[in-house]
């Protein structure tokens, strides 16, 4: 369910690091909690983000949730699919509906995040 090569935050974001670039998304657990997603608010390419700070938000009809940056760096790309089809985030949160790509400024930060097993246990405990 939760890809082994991802790393996870307590706020239900994931990041996949490849060659200094982190692809960031929200987890399947998060999209389930949010319900039908209607809008995604993302930063512009070039924006700086700081680990633990909000980089945007995800909206359902009745709720808004901040997306917290799992790592610090500069936004290089945002997913063009989500502007017209926010529902993709419900359908494929770990794949086609990634949110942003970040050029890492402090690669060491990734070590402090949870593994898939840890995250699984974490959400199991939350229930």
């Amino acid at each position: 369910m939760y890809p082994e090569d991802f790393r996870y935050t307590k706020e239900h974001e994931w990041v996949l690091v490849e060659g200094g670039i982190g692809t960031v998304g929200i987890t399947d657990h998060a999209q389930q909690e949010l319900g039908d997603i209607v809008y995604v608010d993302l930063p512009k390419p070039g924006a700086g983000v700081e680990r633990g700070k909000s980089l945007g938000s995800v909206e359902s009809v009745k709720a808004v949730s901040d997306i917290f940056a799992p790592v610090s760096g500069e936004v290089t790309e945002i997913n063009p699919v989500l502007a017209d089809a926010p529902e993709k985030l419900n359908e494929d949160p770990h794949g086609a509906a990634w949110l942003v790509k970040i050029k890492l400024s402090a690669p060491g930060e990734v070590q402090e995040l949870m593994t898939a097993a840890d995250y699984q246990a974490y959400i199991g405990a939350e229930k």
């Binding site: 809008y39 909206e59 009809v61 009745k62 808004v64």
Partner: protein, 444 residues
């Protein structure tokens, strides 16, 4: 008491069901220190007839039977009888905010029509379901511009309604927004483009102009737009006399239109309640404050309406909301909707033309202080406006608004307004009296 639909025996039954000995016991858990242990010092309740008598006596102190030339943001217009017929229906009057769409389709459909008509009237893409009034729509529009541009300076024309500028100041102060004013041209009464140019920079979030402006002059929106946009600022255009949009070109150059709808069958009612609007371009919709009604379908595919984009609002976003506003002036907006329906495409134009005709007739007998084109209001210099108004009151005429209280440089002038309700005889009387007062001044 006639609004309390329980008999004493029913109260007794209910208390018994709750195993409570007396009604007073319901409050026994409150700390004694907070209890009010004396009756409220208010007279006992009175009958309907006495209530009507009380308010009739208060109304008798009013301006009944007086002609009036006051405008200045609140206008006398005929109120089609259908307006009160519709808003007096209990289904509209006593219904709640339409959060439960299935049993509020009446309110929702009417607001959807309202939003549409405001777009048609203003030339904008999207309009909200109304703000408290025009004066608070201005700071809401300014805050919207600040959010969109991430800038914090706002420039407001001095020819924007003075009380609206005061309200803008009250809100801006706490938003880290600075408000600066720019002047008007002495000759035309329209904005001073050079002054605006000199004050606009790349920290300006918005330029705010009013048209027709407080002096009644149709303002130079294009000039303001050119200056604002060149510096990356948004243009906010305000109107206080909605009837003007029946004949005047709406402000196509505006990024945000803010306005007051009181002219559309909303009683002057000593200052409120009124209804403001904010209308804007599609791309800014998520930054708009206030309620929005959207079209959708139900499970059978029938067209239906519901409140939407609620995540902008206070009840969801709380401290990150686009505004703290909760209400929309639904019933007032409905009055405006019925008004717009009754007059319609051609009627509103004819109404506006009548206003222009009356005011231009009046202007022909007096001399407007400003050369700029005007709609139904203009400024007249008359020596001592307060004295002139005293003379007019003796004839049961309320003259124009003496401007000295807002514009010291115009202390010798008054702002007069004529609408479709103003009679020729009243205008002739006004002119005559003003001329006589001016002459008396000269002779004195």
């Amino acid at each position: 008491m006639r609004y309390l639909p329980k008999s004493d025996s029913e109260r007794r039954q209910m208390l018994d069901a709750c195993a409570v000995a007396s009604a007073e016991d319901l409050f026994a858990h409150l700390p004694e220190s907070v209890r009010l242990r004396r009756p409220l010092e208010l007279a006992p309740g009175i009958s309907e007839y006495e209530i009507v008598d009380y308010f009739r006596a208060r109304a008798a102190d009013g301006a009944n039977g007086y002609a009036s030339f006051l405008g200045a943001g609140v206008y006398r217009h005929f109120r089609p009888v259908l307006v009160d017929t519709v808003v007096s229906r209990g289904e509209f009057l006593t219904s709640y905010t339409p959060y439960q769409a299935e049993i509020s389709q009446g309110t929702l459909a009417a607001i959807f029509e309202f939003q549409t008509m405001i777009c048609q009237l203003t030339g904008m893409d999207v309009a909200n379901a109304s703000m408290y009034d025009g004066s608070t729509a201005v700071p809401e529009a300014a805050m919207m511009a600040a959010r969109i541009t991430s800038r914090h300076r706002v420039l407001a024309a001095r020819s924007v309604h003075p009380e609206y500028r005061e309200v803008l100041g009250t809100y801006a102060r706490h938003q880290g927004m600075t408000v600066e004013e720019f002047g008007y041209a002495q000759g035309t009464g329209a904005i001073d483009g050079e002054d605006l140019e000199s004050k606009t920079d790349d920290q300006t979030a918005a330029v705010i102009v009013q048209s027709p402006n407080f002096f009644g002059v149709i303002d130079d929106v294009k000039a303001a737009a050119e200056i604002a946009h060149r510096r990356g600022a948004l243009l906010i255009v305000l109107f206080t006399e909605a009837v003007s949009l029946g004949i005047l070109e709406p402000p196509q150059e505006a990024d945000i239109v803010a306005g007051e709808l009181q002219s559309f069958a909303i009683s002057p009612s000593y200052g409120g309640p009124y209804a403001g609007i904010i209308a804007t371009r599609e791309k800014f919709v998520r930054q708009m404050p206030g309620r929005l009604v959207g079209q959708t379908v139900d499970t059978h595919g029938n067209r239906a309406f519901c409140l939407t984009l609620s995540t902008r609002e206070q009840h969801i976003r709380r401290e990150k909301a686009t505004s703290n506003i909760c209400t929309n002036q639904a019933l007032i907006a409905l009055m405006a909707t019925v008004f717009m329906t009754v007059y319609g495409k051609l009627g509103l134009r004819e109404l506006a033309l009548q206003n222009a005709a009356k005011a231009h007739y009046l202007a022909g007998t007096l001399r407007p202080a400003f050369a700029g084109k005007f709609f139904n209001e203009f400024v007249v210099r008359c020596g001592n406006p307060e004295a002139a108004n005293r003379a007019l009151l003796k004839k049961k005429i309320i003259g124009g608004l003496p401007l000295g209280r807002f514009y010291p440089e115009l202390a010798d002038a008054m702002l007069v307004c004529a609408t479709e309700m103003t009679r020729r005889a009243e205008m002739d009387e006004l002119s005559q009296t003003l001329r006589a007062a001016a002459t008396a001044e000269v002779l004195a």
